[in-house]
C-alpha cells in the first residue's frame, strides 16, 4: 500500500522562512530559546540522516563488515562492485523501469482526475455536491489495510491480477489530493473567475490557464506525495503480482533476503538505488514547494 499521510503535509506546504524578515535577537532569553531550538533541530537532522548514511556506507562494505559487531562505520575498502553485483542477483534494470512506469502513469492519471474533481467541487454548482464531497471525505477514514482484501477481489474479478494495470488503475484517483486541491482552488478569488469568463474563457480554459498555474505549489506538493507514495509502494504490488518481471523496486528488494540470511551489503546497495531518484526529484522540485501561492494582482 502506498503511504500518503496527512501529517506529512504541513511540512511540505510551509512557506519559505526566507520570505519573512529576520527578527532581531535582542534579549538573552531569546538567544537561549534560539539556541535550544537549534540543538533540537540538529538532533532531529542527525536522527534522520544516520540511517541514510548507514545505508550508503553499508552498501560499500564487505559481507563481514556489514554484520560486524561492534558496527564498522567506514569500510576498509570501498566496494563499489556491490552495486554491480546487486544488479546481477536480481533484474534491477527491469524493476527500475517497472517502478518508473507505474509511478509516472499513476501520478499523471491522478493529477488529471484530482485537478478536474477539485475544480468541480470548488467552482461548479451541481446537484448533491456537498453530500458527494462529504461521502468522499468519509472514505478517508477507512484504514487502507482494511481495503486490501476487497480491492484484491475487485481487481481479481476484473481479471487484472498480475498486470501493470493492477498496480496503476486503483491509484488513478485520490480523495486526499482532491481535498487538498479543492481547498487551494477555493482560495483563488472569484473575481479572477469572473474576469476570465468576461474575457471569453471557458471553464476548461480558466482551469488550465489560470487556476492550475496559480495553484502550482499545491499541485507540486500533491505530485511529490504521490510520486513518493507510488515509488515506495510495497504491499499492494507484492499482493497483485506473481511474475517477478512485473514487480517494482521495493518488492524486488526481497531478492536479497533468502532462507540462508540477508545479504545486507547488496540490499543496501539496491536500496540506495531505490532512494536516489526520490532525492533527485526532491532537490529539483523543492523550490516549487516553498513557493507560496502568489496572490499579487488582487487587492482588497
Amino acid at each position: 500500500m502506498e503511504e500518503i499521510r496527512e501529517r506529512d503535509i504541513p511540512f511540505i506546504l510551509k512557506k519559505s522562512e526566507k520570505d519573512k524578515p529576520q527578527k532581531e535577537i535582542t534579549s538573552t532569553g531569546e538567544k537561549v530559546l534560539r539556541g535550544i531550538a537549534y540543538v533540537l533541530l540538529t538532533i532531529g537532522a542527525v536522527t534522520m540522516l544516520i540511517p541514510f548514511i548507514w545505508m550508503v556506507m553499508t552498501s560499500l562494505k564487505s559481507p563481514a563488515e556489514a554484520v560486524a559487531m561492534p558496527p564498522v562505520w567506514w569500510p576498509s575498502v570501498l566496494r563499489f562492485e556491490n552495486y554491480a553485483r546487486a544488479f546481477e542477483v536480481a533484474p534491477f534494470g527491469r524493476y527500475f523501469l517497472n517502478s518508473v512506469l507505474i509511478t509516472s502513469l499513476s501520478t499523471l492519471g491522478e493529477l488529471i482526475t484530482t485537478i478536474l474533481a477539485a475544480f468541480a467541487f470548488a467552482r461548479l454548482n451541481f446537484y448533491g455536491k456537498n453530500i458527494l464531497f462529504t461521502i468522499l471525505i468519509a472514505t478517508m477514514m477507512v484504514p487502507s489495510e482494511l481495503l486490501i482484501i476487497p480491492n484484491y477481489l475487485t481487481i481479481s474479478n476484473f481479471g487484472l491480477i498480475n498486470t501493470y494495470s493492477a498496480m496503476i488503475v486503483p491509484y488513478l484517483a485520490s480523495v486526499f489530493s482532491v481535498f487538498m486541491l479543492k481547498q487551494n482552488f477555493e482560495s483563488v478569488p472569484n473575481e479572477l473567475y469572473y474576469a476570465a469568463k468576461v474575457d471569453g474563457s471557458s471553464d476548461w480554459n480558466f482551469l488550465w490557464r489560470i487556476m492550475v498555474p496559480l495553484s502550482k505549489s499545491a499541485i507540486v506538493a500533491v505530485t511529490i506525495l504521490k510520486i513518493i507514495g507510488s515509488w515506495n509502494a510495497f504491499m499492494w504490488p507484492l499482493i497483485v503480482t506473481n511474475d517477478r518481471l512485473l514487480r517494482p523496486l521495493p518488492v524486488g528488494l526481497q531478492a536479497f533476503t533468502t532462507e540462508a540470511g540477508t545479504q545486507f551489503e547488496l540490499l543496501m546497495a539496491a536500496s540506495t538505488i531505490v532512494v536516489a531518484p526520490m532525492i533527485i526529484i526532491y532537490l529539483f522540485l523543492q523550490r516549487y514547494i516553498i513557493m507560496g501561492v502568489s496572490k499579487a494582482g488582487i487587492k482588497g
Binding site: E191, S294, A296, G297, I298
Partner: protein
C-alpha cells in the same frame, strides 16, 4: 452598443435585489449607476455582463435579446474593483488574454495589446508582473484588458475605490478620456456621488432595488425627483425642513393653495440659502451655533431646537450666537410630499 432592461427582476431566494427595472443606456455614453451599498447596483452590472441571469424580465443589446446569453457571447469588457489581473501573467499577457481566447493570431494580439498599453499609458511596464505595479497602474492594465477585444460595452465595478484620493481623481479623468477616445458605451458603478456627477453623461440612482432617478448630472442635482436623490447628492447634505400647513412660511411663499396640503418637507441646498432681515420671509429661523472656515469655504450651522440648517456661500458671515433668518429663492426650493416625492411648482405656475 445600446443596452435595454425590460421589467428586469432579480431575487436571491426570497430577497428581491432588483424590482422590475426598466432603463436604456444610450450607445457611446458613459452612464453611472449610483447608490448606497446593497442597493442592487453591482447586481445590475452583473446582469449586464451576463455573469448572472435575471429572475424575470428581458435584456437587450441593441435590437438583440441577450437575456439568456452568457458573458462570452455578450462580448462585454469588465473592470473589477480589485482589478482581478492574472497574477502569473505579465502586463502584456494580461491584455492579450481575451484575444488569445478569441484565437486571434499572435502578431495581431501583440499589436493590439501594445496599442492599448499606449492608450492607457502603461507601455513602459508591459513586461512586469501585476504585483510590481502600483494600484493606479494595475487599474490601467485592467482597463486595457477590458478594452482588448473591442467590447460591445465596458463595465466598471467601483473601479476607483481601492485608490487613494488624489489618484482617484486622476484615474477618473483618465477613464473619461479613454471612454471618449474609444467611444465605447460604458457603465460605471459607484457609491461616490462626486465621482458619478463628474464623469458621467447620465446617472442612474438606485436604492432598494428600484431606480430613483435617471438623468444627466445637472438635472439630478438641480431637480431631484425625490428626497432620497436630493439627500444622496451634494455635500453638505441638503437641508431638510419639516413643515405643516400652518407653518408661516407656506403663507409667505407663492404656493397654490391646493398643493399646500401635500407638502410635508422642503429641501434647501446649503449654497442656495440667503440671509434675510425680514422674519416673515424666513424658511428657517435659528441661532448661529458654529461657523467653520476651511480654506476659502465658510460653513454656517444654524440651530433651532433639534432642527439644524447648514449654509455655505453666504454673502455676509454672521457671528456665532446671532439670531438669523434663512430663506432661498423660490426656484431653489425643493418641495416634497409625505411619500418623499418631489412636488414641482413649474407646472402649477403655468
Amino acid at each position: 452598443m445600446q443596452v435595454k432592461f425590460q421589467d428586469v427582476t432579480m431575487s436571491y431566494g426570497d430577497k428581491n435585489v432588483l424590482n422590475n427595472i426598466d432603463f436604456e443606456i444610450p450607445e457611446g455614453k458613459l452612464v453611472s449607476i449610483l447608490g448606497p451599498s446593497g442597493c442592487g447596483k453591482s447586481t445590475t452590472l452583473m446582469l449586464i455582463s451576463g455573469l448572472t441571469f435575471p429572475s424575470g424580465g428581458k435584456i437587450f443589446f441593441g435590437d438583440e435579446e441577450v437575456t439568456k446569453s452568457d458573458a462570452v457571447k455578450r462580448k462585454v469588457g469588465m473592470v473589477f474593483q480589485n482589478y482581478a489581473l492574472y497574477p502569473h501573467l505579465s502586463v502584456l499577457e494580461n491584455i492579450m488574454f481575451p484575444l488569445k481566447m478569441e484565437k486571434r493570431p499572435k502578431k495581431e494580439r501583440e499589436r493590439r495589446a501594445l496599442e492599448l498599453a499606449r492608450l492607457v499609458q502603461i507601455e513602459e511596464h508591459i513586461h512586469k508582473k501585476p504585483k510590481q505595479l502600483s494600484g493606479g497602474q494595475q487599474q490601467r492594465v485592467a482597463i486595457a484588458r477590458a478594452l482588448a477585444k473591442e467590447p460591445s460595452i465596458l463595465l466598471m465595478d467601483e473601479p476607483l475605490s481601492n485608490l487613494d484620493a488624489r489618484l482617484r481623481i486622476e484615474m477618473r479623468e483618465e477613464i473619461r478620456r479613454i471612454q471618449q477616445e474609444t467611444g465605447v458605451t460604458t457603465v460605471f458603478v459607484t457609491h461616490d456621488q462626486e465621482e458619478a456627477l463628474s464623469i458621467s453623461d447620465e446617472v442612474m440612482v438606485l436604492n432598494d432595488g428600484a431606480i430613483q432617478q435617471y438623468s444627466d448630472p445637472i438635472t439630478l442635482y438641480k431637480k431631484p425627483d425625490n428626497l432620497f436623490v436630493a439627500k444622496f447628492l451634494g455635500t453638505p447634505v441638503i437641508n431638510e425642513i419639516k413643515v405643516t400647513r400652518d407653518s408661516l412660511i407656506q403663507n409667505r411663499l407663492p404656493i397654490p393653495e391646493a398643493l399646500k396640503e401635500d407638502i410635508t418637507t422642503i429641501g434647501l441646498r446649503a449654497e442656495d440659502i440667503i440671509v434675510t432681515s425680514v422674519p416673515e420671509e424666513a424658511l428657517f429661523t435659528g441661532i448661529v451655533s458654529h461657523v467653520a472656515r476651511v480654506g476659502k469655504d465658510t460653513t454656517v450651522h444654524v440651530v433651532n431646537g433639534d432642527a439644524e440648517c447648514v449654509a455655505t456661500d453666504l454673502a455676509m458671515i454672521p457671528q456665532e450666537g446671532e439670531d438669523i433668518y434663512l430663506t432661498a429663492a423660490m426656484e431653489d426650493i425643493h418641495f416634497f410630499n409625505k411619500q418623499n416625492d418631489v412636488i414641482r411648482m413649474e407646472a402649477t405656475h403655468a
